[in-house]
């Protein structure tokens, strides 16, 4: 009798343990499948959101070139309204305001002497964008629009001004690529101390070597010369553009261009003095150039003036006629020269744009990639997207 009871107890204990063990196994298998499904759904959502952004211009479609339309945006999209497929508006991309930005959107701050700062009231905020995309509260994202070709320009130590132009793609140097360039420089001034903005658009064609590198030397210019150099590379159907502007901090500081607004072909740019040790006169000579696809710039405005402690900024009103281009600014304090550049239309100098929430530390981030065009410049759009609702999101 006692033997049968012990047999029962042992058998029951083993049975219970095995049952619990197998329930655990099944749960784990189910859990893994649920997680897989959840991750798959996020990847699909990522692809959908990316296409939704890239394949419609938004509503109203002219919001890229109109501040008023930006404030009345009812649907978000980045497509160039004059084109189809994956062509993005160079102006819409300038109006994106990430959560970390405050008064200006800070797309580019002193990157190779280039600034892209658009006033926040002229931009659309990240949280508005998530609402317009219908993913507010469910997903966060970050979209990075970067040139497919990196055109990296650096100054080679030399007696004369010599520049190295390195062209490479996301995984490959671009050998035998044709390179065109635009050169602006300032090393002289008028009797009133305003810098003279020189330029050379009759550029000879360069070609990169097997490492994707080309050199350009300017024997008539010393290596102290302030310059802005813009290079456009082309091979096998893809174009890339890069720039280097030699920004120097003079005794009177340096100017920073802030885009206050651009509306239906009129851009207002505030050129403000960034004071250094003193607040003396900083003289400038600025020109806006429209830059068509043929890479022959057309001057569409010139401004000469100065900023100082009593007049710390000057407002420049530029008629752009909704053409992409750039404002190149030469400046001096009477002794030292420098140059900065700001684009109107991101493709004119190949500025990258990153917009959205901070991706670091997120649990599961789905990414997707598209090749796009802005103007004739090849870009890549990479969207990183993650869920804010954990495992509850199953679609």
């Amino acid at each position: 009798m006692a033997g049968a009871t012990i047999d029962h107890l042992v058998a029951f204990t083993i049975f219970l343990a095995a049952l619990l063990l197998f329930i655990g196994f099944y749960n784990q298998m189910n859990q893994t499948a649920i997680v897989y499904q959840y991750h798959r759904f996020i990847a699909t959502k990522c692809s959908d959101v990316l296409d939704s952004m890239l394949l419609n211009p938004g509503s109203p479609p002219d919001w890229g070139i109109s501040g008023n339309s930006t404030r009345n945006l009812t649907f978000f999209g980045l497509q160039d309204p004059e084109f189809q497929e994956y062509r993005l508006s160079p102006f819409s991309l300038m109006r994106l305001l990430s959560p970390s930005a405050q008064q200006y959107n800070n797309v580019s701050w002193n990157v190779n002497g280039g600034y892209l700062l658009v006033q926040a009231s002229e931009c659309i905020g990240y949280h508005n964008v998530t609402s317009l995309l219908g993913i507010s509260g469910a997903y966060d994202f970050q979209v990075a629009i970067t040139p497919t070709l990196t055109v990296n320009i650096s100054q080679v130590p030399n007696a004369d001004l010599k520049l190295e132009i390195q062209v490479y793609g996301t995984g490959f140097p671009l050998s035998n690529a044709n390179v065109n360039y635009l050169m602006f420089w300032a090393n002289t001034k008028t009797p009133s101390n305003y810098p003279i903005l020189n330029y050379n658009f009759t550029s000879d064609l360069l070609q990169t070597d097997s490492s994707g590198i080309a050199f350009k030397e300017f024997p008539s210019l010393s290596n102290e010369t302030a310059f802005t150099f813009i290079a456009k590379a082309y091979l096998g159907g893809i174009c890339g553009i890069g720039y280097l502007s030699q920004e120097t901090v003079t005794d009177a500081g340096n100017p920073i261009p802030y885009i206050q607004s651009y509306d239906n072909g009129i851009a207002n740019i505030m050129l403000a003095q960034n004071p250094e040790t003193g607040m003396g006169n900083l003289y400038f000579n600025a020109s806006f150039y429209a830059l068509p696809d043929n890479f022959v710039p057309i001057q569409a405005g010139n401004f000469v003036g100065s900023v100082n402690s009593s007049t710390p900024y000057q407002n420049l009103t530029i008629t752009t006629n909704n053409q992409t281009g750039f404002l190149v600014v030469a400046y001096d304090d009477g002794n030292h020269y420098g140059m900065v550049i700001t684009p109107l239309g991101v493709d004119s100098i190949g500025a990258p744009v990153t917009f959205g929430a901070d991706v670091s530390g997120k649990e599961w981030v789905a990414t997707d990639l598209r090749q796009i065009l802005i103007g004739d410049i090849a870009y890549q759009a990479k969207l990183s997207l993650w869920s804010l609702q954990g495992y509850g999101v199953t679609g």
Partner: protein, 440 residues
């Protein structure tokens, strides 16, 4: 001991069940759970490479090693380092009407793309080929009333001549040049109505577009003959339409409401009660012009002439284009507004009264049942042949020549012959297959 053995058997069964379930519950590999959309990446890469037609040029230049090497460099530079690819250009030929694709040249950076690859196809056109559309010619004469000695009504903002020129331009590719005849004045119109020709055209089965709106040009001889009752002129027009099996197109408003001739006294001294001289209402008994359409329909039906001012229109409404008209908008590339304001739609009672049948319509029927934007074909009882047609839009002013053109094209339905993209040598198919390095 017996219970322990039973439990052991149960555990064995549960283990078996678990293994069986695990075998069938195949979970995808981690890369497939959250993959890059390779198909889209492939398509967008091809579109980018062909943005300046470079891909198309290289695809047709299969013997140019330099160009293909440059393409490979560009392709490698465009794609992320962990992507492997195979790009192949295919020649297109056809056999028994079916396109055949044969590989002409290929580039790749891998021997195998693994089983998780995806591809996109892209058609590129040869730079040596011009794709064209050739419309089928309508086998009829097109008379456009471009009478210099007439005025128009409800063509506000246009002149008779500008409308006539628009029609000539829009129909230019649908008719033989010799078949488009501009009726330059009322004398030529009279010549036509008297059985003559203005050139080598065949007046039988012709289309006549009245560009004067609600007014109709009247030749001097008819103006003198019927000055006491201009409705009789409209009656004669109806008889000619019947005799020659014309299709008379009224592009706006109430058809045959006024007659116009700016050179013939006393008509040139008369105004249409709205200040337009050289024009007057058709009715002699009141200030309307409704007798004109009644008389025209009597004429087209070969009835005895009877003066009548009974109104034949019914209701005002905003109506939309019919589905078939919308399809034809895309087919012919003519895009008028899909909604039109109709104030002169015709009562359906004319169908039985004048032996008419409903032909092609480009505008939907009004809520009152009235008909607009429609061709009315005259067919005698017991006959199957059409003997004259009236195409009336019934829209309010101002006229839209695109709408009238669309109606006539819908009625005759000429075929557009497009260059075939699959014709040998005109296009190539480029396929870009992408995979992730390391297989799936």
């Amino acid at each position: 001991m017996m219970r322990s053995v039973e439990v052991f058997i149960v555990i064995m069964m549960m283990t078996g069940a678990f293994l069986t379930a695990s075998f069938f519950a195949v979970l995808p590999s981690p890369r497939k759970v959250s993959p890059l959309n390779l198909s889209r990446l492939s398509l967008t890469t091809l579109e980018t490479l062909d943005a300046g037609s470079d891909l198309g040029i290289v695809a047709f230049d299969t013997t140019n090693d330099t160009a293909w090497n440059q393409l490979q460099v560009a392709l490698s530079a465009s794609l992320p380092p962990n992507i492997v690819y195979n790009l192949t250009a295919y020649d297109i030929s056809s056999a028994n009407g079916q396109p055949l694709y044969s590989a002409s040249r290929s580039i790749s950076n891998t021997q195998s793309l693994g089983i998780g690859s995806d591809a996109a196809t892209y058609m590129v056109a040869s730079s040596n080929v011009t794709f064209s559309i050739t419309p089928q010619k309508i086998a009829a004469t097109l008379y456009i009333l471009n009478c210099s000695d007439s005025n128009g009504w409800w063509i506000t903002g246009y002149t008779v001549q500008s409308i006539a020129q628009q029609f000539a331009d829009m129909f230019a590719s649908y008719f033989d040049p010799s078949s488009i005849v501009m009726v330059q004045n009322t004398s030529q119109l009279g010549q036509l109505l008297n059985g003559g020709r203005l050139g080598n055209e065949n007046p039988q089965n012709a289309i006549v577009i009245n560009t004067c709106g609600e007014a109709v040009p009247i030749p001097t001889s008819y103006a003198i003959q019927y000055q006491s009752d201009y409705a009789q002129y409209c009656y004669q027009l109806g008889k000619k339409v019947n005799q020659y099996n014309w299709t008379w197109a009224s592009i706006v408003g109430y058809p045959f409401y006024y007659v116009t001739n700016t050179g013939q006294p006393p008509l040139n001294q008369t105004q249409n009660t709205w200040g337009i001289y050289g024009m007057r209402n058709v009715d002699y008994s009141d200030d309307t012009g409704r007798a004109g359409l009644n008389a025209f329909l009597e004429g087209i039906d070969n009835q005895q002439y009877s003066y009548s001012t009974a109104g034949l229109t019914s209701g005002n409404d905003v109506v939309s284009l019919t589905p078939s008209a919308l399809n034809n908008c895309s087919y012919y590339g003519i895009f008028p507004s899909p909604n039109q304001t109709v104030t002169r739609a015709l009562s359906p009672s004319i169908i039985t009264a004048y032996n008419l049948t409903k032909g092609v319509n480009i505008l939907n029927t009004l809520s009152t049942g009235a008909l607009s934007g429609r061709v009315f074909n005259h067919i005698f009882k017991g006959d199957s042949n059409v003997t004259g047609s009236l195409f009336t839009l019934g829209i309010t002013r101002v006229p839209d020549t695109r709408l009238a053109t669309l109606g006539i094209l819908c009625n005759y339905n000429p075929v557009l012959y497009r260059s075939q993209y699959t014709a040998a040598g005109t296009s190539k198919l480029v396929v870009l297959q992408l995979g992730l390095a390391g297989g799936s």
